[in-house]
């Protein structure tokens, strides 16, 4: 059933409505998970997950316990305008949570979203990197909430769990705000902006079923999942361009590379020269790889996870 979570009137004859698809099984109040996506309007991987999950849960309704809420578009105006942020607004939507009722419409919407998700047994916030970088399916966890979140993260069937440092600016994300009020929330990053990688989406859906199994929400045998690599087991190396130009990769995404191996080049179309060869700082797996060819000095090219066994 489609329900409106929060809405507001736009200036000229249009309502902005944040909606969700509520799928209820037996004892709908016993358990609830929220699958949310579309905070960044240029990230579309979650669109496939929302669609496919709704279809599969419809088939599984007889064995479903509790409630699954799917929120396909937290930023409908961004998605409809191919815009990452909130159109006409300076701040990234993932920097205004938990929202407010006295600032602007955008903060009011953020406040309504947090109130609606609050109290869920688990929230999964699906992101798709950006248009510049391709990511392997991964979970990002703030080091402050590792203990609560790691057990869920290991069930989600993702390849990698990245535990990152706590910084004040990240306290205004949806995930931080929900974790802060006791609603466990996992951030998924996978694929690349403006594209859909169905394989990754299917992998995540498998993980969502595995978590639901663990929470007692599906009356079927538990699905075994591969344990992810955890960043704290190894070391993350960054590769940034020192030159501006056109990036051409020389490895494939998710490849294993040796220290010193060429990950790609920055080329100069005027001269036919190679402006820069970008080398891997360590041996490991290229879990992030640049997708968008134009680079400026400093543009992120790759992230390599080293120190983990093959």
């Amino acid at each position: 059933m489609i329900e409106t979570v929060v809405s507001a009137q736009l200036p000229v004859g249009e309502e902005l409505a944040i909606q969700k698809n509520r799928i209820e099984g037996a004892e709908p109040d016993s358990r609830r998970i929220a699958v949310v996506t579309g905070t960044h309007g240029d990230e579309l991987e979650g669109q496939y997950v929302a669609w496919k999950l709704a279809r599969l849960l419809e088939q599984k309704r007889k064995i479903l316990h509790g409630t699954v809420d799917i929120y396909p578009a937290l930023n409908p105006l961004g998605i409809s305008t191919i815009y990452r942020g909130l159109p006409g607004f300076d701040l990234d939507m993932n920097r205004i949570f938990p929202g407010s009722r006295t600032e602007t419409m955008n903060e009011y919407i953020a406040d309504g979203i947090v109130r609606d998700i609050a109290g869920a047994d688990l929230c999964i916030d699906i992101h798709a990197s950006n248009i510049f970088l391709r990511e392997i399916p991964q979970i990002r966890i703030n080091e402050k909430s590792v203990d609560q979140l790691m057990p869920f993260a290991k069930l989600l069937n993702m390849d990698f769990v990245w535990v990152h440092g706590a910084t004040t600016v990240l306290e205004s994300t949806l995930a931080y705000s929900l974790n802060d009020i006791g609603t466990p929330t996992l951030v998924v990053e996978m694929g690349v902006g403006m594209r859909i990688t169905e394989r990754y989406g299917n992998q995540l859906i498998y993980g969502i079923f595995s978590v639901m199994n663990e929470l007692g929400m599906l009356d079927e045998p538990a699905i075994p999942v591969q344990p992810p690599i955890v960043s704290t087991d190894g070391h993350v190396g960054f590769v940034n361009a020192s030159e501006s130009g056109i990036f051409l990769p020389r490895v494939s995404h998710a490849d294993r590379v040796e220290q010193g191996q060429t990950i790609g080049i920055v080329s100069n179309p005027f001269t036919g020269e190679i402006s820069e060869k970008l080398l891997s700082p360590l041996s490991g797996m290229v879990f992030t790889l640049r997708e968008y060819p134009i680079v400026n000095e400093g543009s992120l090219i790759a992230r390599v996870l080293g120190g983990v066994a093959k």
Partner: protein, 310 residues
Amino acid sequence: MKREILCTISALPYRQPIPVYGFRFGSGDKTLAVMGAIRGDEFQQMYTAARLIQRLEKLESDGALSAGILVVPCMAQFSMNVSRRFWPLDNTDINRMFPGYADGETTQRLAHRIFQALQGYQWGIHLTSFYLSGDFVPHVRIMETGFQKDEAGLDFGLPYLVIRSPHPYDTVTLNYNWQIWGTNTFSLYTRATRDIEPGSAEVAVESILRFLHRYGLSSEEVPEGCKSVCVNESQMVAIGSSSAGILLPQKHPGDKVAAGEMVASILDPYTAKPCEEIRSPVDGTIFFFRHAQILSERTIVCRIIPQNNS
């Protein structure tokens, strides 16, 4: 006056290198640094800094300066020349990247370079703009970091000194980091951002020269300014819209209002009939007024400093 290149913005091969200039005056001491436009629409901020440069040049040649001063009128050329507020490639805001990172992404590197040039000064002034488009009463703003020197803000002689408790997104601005790293920092807001207003630029320039004079750094007399009123942002009353449509302001920044008096009306966009009369709940002075032709519901229209504070 010495003009020097502080750093260069390079985005070859299709944009030519852009020098970021610093203008140095007086002694070699690091007494005061003034930062102008960081964002591509901060025309008024660039213009204000440029007018300050003219005045300082005169003071220096008259032998009236006994301080070392650096003014950076603009580091937003790359965005300004293509009519964009933020970094055009990835839409990131350099003023959300401080203190910067030498090996990071493009805008982190630029923030790092300019921050290096601005470090070690006793006083710092950032001519800046707000994340919501709107007009202000000219004021000095200080971030409450625990390191700030509030009283010094009164010496600009602007109508108001505003103390702001930082939101998470403030912790990555120039103002916040400058202060944390030991410079007494003020953000100076003139009336406008996108429109060049000579009168309000002059008010800002005079206030900086007044500050210099009060601290014995310039021997030139500057006319007495206002007796600044110190207000904590949390004491201001925010008035928002409860309907959407065309915004018709009835008041302007600096205007006095009585409780119950109308500050704006919202008109139906199709009939121009008023659908909401927005009234002040308190006696006070308009501090900030949104600059917008049309408005969503639940969005801030103005902020008022209540009478008992002014």
